[in-house]
């Protein structure tokens, strides 16, 4: 499980994003039991307190839940995955459009470019 962190954003936020991504991509399935805080911390190479903070936040947001002695689990509800995917798609697209804009591409230019690339891929496939 690869964790990649940048150094100017608080770690706990980055951890939260990383976990949301794993849930959204289906890497972590609903109802899955999480490893212990320490194990996760060692794996990610971060301070256990930081990991704990991230997990607690995710619990608050309803993405994880804790059963007293049994540990932490991914929330059971399937719609969580959908919601996360929606959230992530939005942020990816916004970021992409923002980058394109900085290169001087308007929205129409971007759409045209996407169409062109998609056609090229189709032709390669034939």
């Amino acid at each position: 499980m690869g964790w990649k962190f940048s150094d100017d954003v608080p770690l706990y936020q980055q951890i939260m994003d990383g976990i949301k991504q794993r849930i959204a991509t289906g890497d972590w399935v609903p109802g899955q039991k999480l490893p212990s805080v320490r194990e996760l911390a060692v794996d990610a190479g971060v301070n256990p307190n930081t990991m704990q903070k991230a997990l607690a936040e995710l619990e608050r947001e309803g993405l994880l839940y804790a059963k007293r002695t049994a540990g932490r689990f991914v929330a059971e509800r399937e719609e969580i995955k959908g919601r996360l995917q929606e959230e992530m798609m939005q942020s990816y697209v916004k970021e992409f459009l923002g980058n394109m804009e900085s290169l001087g591409y308007s929205l129409e230019d971007t759409v045209a470019l996407l169409q062109k690339i998609s056609d090229q891929e189709e032709r390669k496939g034939e």
Binding site: F5, D7, D8, V9, P10, L11, Y12, R38, A41, V42, A44, G45, V46, N47, P48, N49, T50, K53
Partner: protein, 232 residues
């Protein structure tokens, strides 16, 4: 989480040069704290005072409520910058030594870690490479169930794989009743592992914040902030 380390008005002079000046701080248990500062800033003096190797001229230091002495030394596991085992000893003899003098030493943990690294306990310390020697020292220090771990430049001159091993060992040994103090100038390597950072500048406490606070408030890494604060 109780107050594990408390310093009040600690001062240490070396002749006319100031090592530490009126240092006051409090470190709770369950924290991994970075002690950061350039060479000669006083961070090594600070670590030496906590370990009992240096007596301050003024001020009070309490470790788990105890003043510096034999009781506090039993609670503190110190890893100095330099090799401190006799060259002529074998690794197994050093393990015996630690077991003899430290009640909180866990032999099996040490032996397990040595095995993971493929180090034969029957080898002499003198026969080990510099990197391996440092790893052995770290293993022995971290194999104690101490309340305070003082690591003075644990990653200087060690290869990246070894640095990973060191950080992993620190994280694996984490426990809420103990705290780890890491004095280093290789900040970007340890940043992710730290709860809080303490900047020591010219013997004084320049900053004591959590890593998260720094990133949120300053929008930069601790490493970047360090370069700013200590710009020459």
């Amino acid at each position: 989480m109780e107050e594990l380390i408390r310093c009040k008005g600690v001062s240490k002079k070396y002749g006319r040069t100031l090592g530490l000046e009126d240092l006051s701080l409090s470190i709770a248990s369950g924290k991994i704290v970075g002690i950061l500062g350039p060479n000669g800033s006083g961070k090594t003096t600070f670590i030496k005072v906590l370990s009992g190797l240096l007596m301050p001229e003024a001020g009070e230091v309490l470790i788990d409520g105890k003043p510096i002495g034999t009781e506090s030394k039993a609670l503190v596991s110190y890893l100095p910058e330099r090799p401190y085992f006799s060259d002529a000893m074998r690794i197994s003899e050093v393990i015996d030594f630690f077991e003899e003098f430290y009640r909180d030493f866990q032999r099996e943990a040490a032996e397990r870690m040595l095995q993971t690294l493929g180090l034969d306990p029957e080898r002499k310390i003198s026969a080990l490479s510099k990197g391996n020697r440092e790893k052995v020292q770290l293993i022995l220090v971290m194999s104690r169930k101490a309340k305070v771990y003082l690591l003075d430049e644990p990653m200087g001159g060690v290869d990246p794989a070894a640095r990973d091993f060191i950080l992993k060992t620190i994280l694996t040994n984490y426990n809420e009743d103990a705290s780890v103090l890491i004095s280093t100038h290789l900040i970007s390597d340890v940043e992710n592992v730290l709860d809080d950072v303490i900047f020591i500048k010219q013997g004084r406490l320049a900053l004591y914040k959590s890593v998260d606070e720094i990133r949120m408030e300053e929008n930069k890494s601790v490493d970047a902030l360090f370069r700013e604060v200590f710009a020459c």
